[in-house]
């Protein structure tokens, strides 16, 4: 597609439920990032993919969070047993990831509300 697509755009769930957030990056972009943006705060790095591999998972807040990427394309961020503190906008971005061209293109985000 022409840009980075994220779905759902909005998700309201009950505490304890699992949620899946999807990201479709720009075709050909080898790098894919997930960030979390809590209300009134900056972007918190979660995980980065190079191709289908995740060399850096250091930002995942707990073992309830996991992510995968397949076909060097679509990525899914899964949050198990959601908690209220998981409420945030989850942003996905992709890039060509070559030196000097590490410009990120962002999706519109998935707003998660945990009741």
């Amino acid at each position: 597609g022409a840009g980075v697509s994220q779905s759902p755009s909005n998700k309201v769930t009950e505490k304890g439920k699992d949620v899946e957030l999807r990201c479709d990056p720009i075709s050909g972009h080898t790098a894919l990032y997930w960030y979390r943006q809590r209300l009134g705060q900056g972007l918190e790095f979660l995980i980065y993919f190079q191709g289908n591999s995740a060399p850096d998972k250091s930002g995942l807040p707990s073992d309830r969070f996991s992510a995968e990427r397949t076909g060097e394309s679509v990525s899914t961020l899964t949050i198990q047993r959601t908690q209220q503190e998981d409420s945030a906008v989850y942003l996905c971005a992709s890039s060509l990831d070559t030196s000097g061209a590490n410009v990120l293109t962002f999706g519109a985000g998935s707003r998660l509300t945990v009741l």
Partner: protein, 109 residues
């Protein structure tokens, strides 16, 4: 450890006044630095990057390695500059991009 610090959460200036959004970084090596902007109801997007040495929408940013700073400047602010601005650092070693907490710029008429 890599870190990006934006000390101001909110910056309010009058239209036509100069504006400077501060960004300091912590990184061992040669960083790649960027400014991203998010206008109301729009996606986060690139404003400029230090390697391009460009001026976008009248904004410039100079990398000062001695002071480890990458402040964003514009001589005459416009109302349409009101937005959230994020400074970002890309690590060539870890190949990840980290962001500062952001500064909300409000330009008053």
């Amino acid at each position: 450890a890599q870190r990006v610090t934006q000390p101001e959460k909110l910056l309010s200036v009058f239209k036509g006044a100069p504006v400077e959004l501060k960004c300091n970084y912590s990184y061992s090596g040669s960083p790649e630095l960027f400014w991203y902007v998010q206008y109301s109801r729009q996606r986060l997007q690139l404003l400029l990057r230090h390697i391009s040495r460009e001026s976008i929408k009248g904004f410039t940013a100079d990398l000062n390695k001695g002071e480890t700073s990458f402040h964003l400047k514009k001589p005459f602010a416009q109302e349409e500059d009101s937005a959230m601005y994020y400074c970002a650092l890309h690590s060539r070693r870890g190949f990840k991009t980290i962001f500062g907490a952001g500064t909300r710029l409000f330009v008053k008429a």
